[in-house]
Symmetry: C2
Subunit: 147 residues, 2 copies
């Protein structure tokens, strides 16, 4: 194997994600939601709701974890569970009225906060970044499937 320097790259990936998480999480928490809770509220916004499975795929939260996070949002009356008419095993998660209000209060603010950081990037830079990330994601996904 050629001595390619991939270790610094994955360390930078971790640092990058961490830096984003730190920047974003601080703001989200100040709005009264954990990052996971915000992810769910944001994903459910402007939809008729979706199943746990769909919600897990969108938010990258595994199903065992998702149950707990949704439980807490149900306790705060921000979302509700509805039995799926299509599939007896399935639950549909929907924003309540309070949840919609929370979405409308937090989502634009979060977008705006993110924009403050990324507005310095040109569209070209954003595109390049997107492409590079997509490529790296694909590599890990492929290898994970393989073994």
């Amino acid at each position: 194997m050629e001595a390619k320097e991939f270790l610094p790259v994955v360390r930078e990936l971790a640092r990058c994600y961490q830096a984003f998480e730190c920047y974003s999480s601080r703001h989200v928490r100040s709005l009264g939601l954990t990052p996971s809770q915000f992810d769910i509220i944001a994903t459910l916004g402007n939809t008729e709701g979706m199943t746990f499975k769909q919600l897990g795929e969108m938010t990258l939260i595994t199903k065992g974890t998702l149950t707990g996070v949704v439980d807490r949002l149900v306790a705060r009356q921000l979302v509700k569970r509805v039995a799926s008419p299509m599939d007896g095993r399935s639950q549909i998660v929907q924003l309540t009225d309070d949840g919609v209000a929370m979405f409308e209060r937090t989502f634009p603010a979060a977008i705006n906060h993110l924009g403050k950081a990324l507005d310095g990037m040109t569209s070209t830079e954003l595109d390049k970044t997107h492409t590079v990330l997509r490529n790296l994601t694909r590599i890990f996904k492929r290898e994970t499937k393989a073994g």
Copy 2:
């Protein structure tokens, strides 16, 4: 604000990190360590040990969390705490003999596993990826400092 598409970019960053984490974590767990534990073992390898502060900066684990992770490694006799001769507040964390053995058993294996995924990338691609990530990291770090 111009309608730049930064939302897909940060979602891709999350997906990318997640894909890496999944690929890497599965392997590390099969070696008998959690990802955080492996991070610490890997960071301490080939050093004389370092303080909690340094260790936290290298691994991106916050200090409150670090205490617990190190506690578990101490319980497994893979690392030890040594009082710093320089600073009465400071603890130095060092690999034990068992810890060194664990490092030698797991670190090359992890590098090799990672290499299997990334060997398909050319050095040029790796460089570009590194540059793009470093740029994005810098943006979030700067903004986090600012507020």
